[in-house]
Amino acid sequence: MAQFSLDRRSLLLGAAAIGALASLSACTGDQGRSPNGGGSATSDGSGPRTTLVVGATAEPDTLDIANNAKAAVPQLLLYNVLETLVKIDSEGTLKPLLASAWSLSDDRLTYSFTLRNNIRFSSGAEVTAEAVVQSLEHHRASAANAADLEVVEAVETPEPGVVQLTLSRPSNFLLYNLAGRAGTILDPESLSSIATEPKGSGAYTVGAWQRGSSIELPRNENYWGNQPKFGTVTFRYFPDPQALTSAMLAGDIDIISDVTAPESLPQFSDTETYTVIEGTTNGEVVLGFNHSSEPLKNLKVRQAINHAIDRQGLIDTVWAGKGTLIGSMVPPTDPWFEDLSQTYPYDPAVATQLLSESGVTNITLRLRVPALPYAPSAARVVASQLKEVGITVQVEELDFTTWIEQVYTQANYDMTIVAHVEPRDLVNWANPQYYWRYDNPEFQALVVEADEAPEAEMVDKLKQAGKVLADDAVADFLFLFPNLVVCKADLSGVNVNATTLSFDVTTIASRNG
């Protein structure tokens, strides 16, 4: 598995996926509310807004961004509490954050970052190059982030205010990784309490955490940038989508960061009160095939399944018609996106034909899915439609932890459904050990070439890679999660697209502020 530097075990799965669906949306809380958001729906606009209550679905287990891979951690901390050298904006472009400038050497093996002057952690201590080195070294040795920094050979500070990264080989993806969880810069003082009280240089700090309910982010009084717009931002967690919708309708919260009950969107159609934002995410919902499962080794069987499933019907049924058809592992916000959604149009007759050509008969497949809002419903549609073409599907719902163990780690399954929410996660197909067990040297070569090539060629290589996945029917790429955010109408600045795992509240402002 060390053969490609790209075959990191980085995927992001379902639970995480859901957490990550959040992009930025902004909404406001009413003044005079308790920080927990209690209050009736009638207290709108009675004064300037000082608090923001964000409703989300997945609560972090711990705040250790280095060792816990769940997307709920960066959703809360990334950009809000912990900042990075560079940042990815809503359009997917890299912007300076802690670094004011950066450069790449001609051999594309050395990055130099120049830190901003006068940047401070929330403790008041200066963000020095040494502190940056210390954080990056911490991530390089961590469980969740080491893979993202695999190409980094050394992190040094050749002169004050400059951080230099030496790579073992050129990598186009590294800068993007540095803009995510693996590039978060922590106050060296707080590395020992990273699981409960991580401290960074962001506009907000970690305050009271009522487990099972909410986490408060009070404003960072020492913030180096523009004054944060809210006194306190509270993330409230709702495991139950209906409870989240109710809380929004009752006026208890200001934003739904990731709508997991899209059926409820018509309730928010009053534009005087609410703003509904629809953008894209990096979350591909994949009907994954286990390529070591006998019937699924057959290309015609895989193609037949792709033809047998009415993906638009599935989106309508499972996600209230919100979502994009993709056809491969590439979201439309990536420069190498190509519309491959019509590679296998819905046609049961063709599916039946392909099945009889394949020579495989009496197919029975175990579809083992995690119990997340979308997967069991999608599984019912898949099972019903495959039955129409003569494939028997046994659906099993597993709790997410069991799913990780049985499906993800042991590859004990035939098919599964999960959302892969990380950016640029098509590289996972280059890892033959990955739970799909897909081993295609041609694809693997393309991905390595893409990462090492000059940027212009990279796009072309990745386009080819995406095409290979579609042609080989490696999976059924069901749809791309929409970024659905609902917020109160006085809020603005919510990111339309979820291009990172962060729910960035720093861009949000209120008319009533």
């Binding site: 059926e263 069991p376 549609v381 719902e397």
Partner: protein, 272 residues
């Protein structure tokens, strides 16, 4: 008269559930598992009497097919509880030595584990399924049957014919089978009916908590859980399973009440 009403209404409701599940076994208006995206969320009409759900499945068909799952849950849960609980109760009632005491105490310990707690643990350990839910409900109900059976046995044991049998040297197993069991059977029957109602409710609660994921044909509890996301826009999805659950629970409760009143002379009201 009202006692009679309980019995009659209860019997009718339970009979209705039984009938629906039997008919559902051989015939439903539509295929209860076939997803039809084009027909989703239709309101009740002549073609779909109760409308369709988010998958475009006819709700009446799902209710009919689901009745069987509901009955299965009840039968298995109550069956486990009665088959284990009643013999334990008989042992506890007939044996006044250490064995009886151990059984009583063990029952108390088990009683301290509510069904939901067991279901949470079982679902984690065995995977969440309707089978796990049935198992959890059944095991959690064992103490109820043990207690009822023991109380009944204690009453029976004090009667003369038992003492006579004992004196004449008949083995305790035979006494239990011949004399005790028939005498406590009505009591068990009443409890079974009430426990059946509780099992249906418990299954619905476990479905809601995501601890009882569906077999091929989902139970009403699962239907209700699926419907809650649509409560605001399409309340008709929730009405049918809610009414079905309430009706079945009411039926089994009333049947149990009616039977109890019929069998328990103490509760016969004094004529005024």
């Amino acid at each position: 008269m009202m006692r009679r009403a309980s019995l009659v209404v209860g019997a009718v409701l339970v009979g209705l559930v039984l009938m629906v599940s039997l008919v559902g076994l051989v015939w439903t208006p539509y295929d209860p598992a076939r997803v039809v995206p084009g027909d989703r969320l239709l309101s009740p009409s002549a073609t779909h009497w109760l409308g369709t759900d988010a998958f475009g499945i006819d709700i009446l068909s799902r209710i009919m097919a689901g009745a069987r799952s509901v009955l299965l849950v009840g039968v298995f849960a109550v069956g486990i509880a009665a088959l284990v609980g009643v013999p334990l109760g008989i042992v506890a009632g007939m044996n006044s030595g250490w064995l009886g005491r151990v059984v009583v105490r063990a029952t108390d310990v088990l009683y301290a584990f509510p069904a939901v707690l067991l279901a949470i643990l079982f679902a984690g350990a065995l995977g969440s399924s309707t089978t796990t839910a049935m198992l959890a409900i059944g095991i959690a109900t064992i103490p109820v049957f043990t207690r009822i059976a023991r109380a009944g046995v204690l009453q029976v044991m004090s009667q003369d014919f038992i003492t006579a049998s004992r004196v004449s040297g008949i083995g305790w197993l035979r006494i239990a089978w011949r004399h005790v069991l028939p005498n406590i059977a009505p009591l068990i029957g009443v409890q079974a009916s009430v426990s059946f109602a509780l099992a249906i409710l418990a299954e619905a609660a476990l479905s809601y908590l995501g601890l009882a994921t569906p077999p091929e044909v989902p139970t009403w509890g699962r239907m209700l859980y699926d419907a809650q996301r649509h409560l605001l826009n399409d309340p008709h999805l929730a009405i049918a399973p809610a009414v079905a659950i309430a009706g079945a629970v009411l039926g089994f409760n009333l049947l149990g009440d009616g039977l109890r009143d019929l069998l328990d002379p103490r509760l016969k009201e004094v004529a005024e």
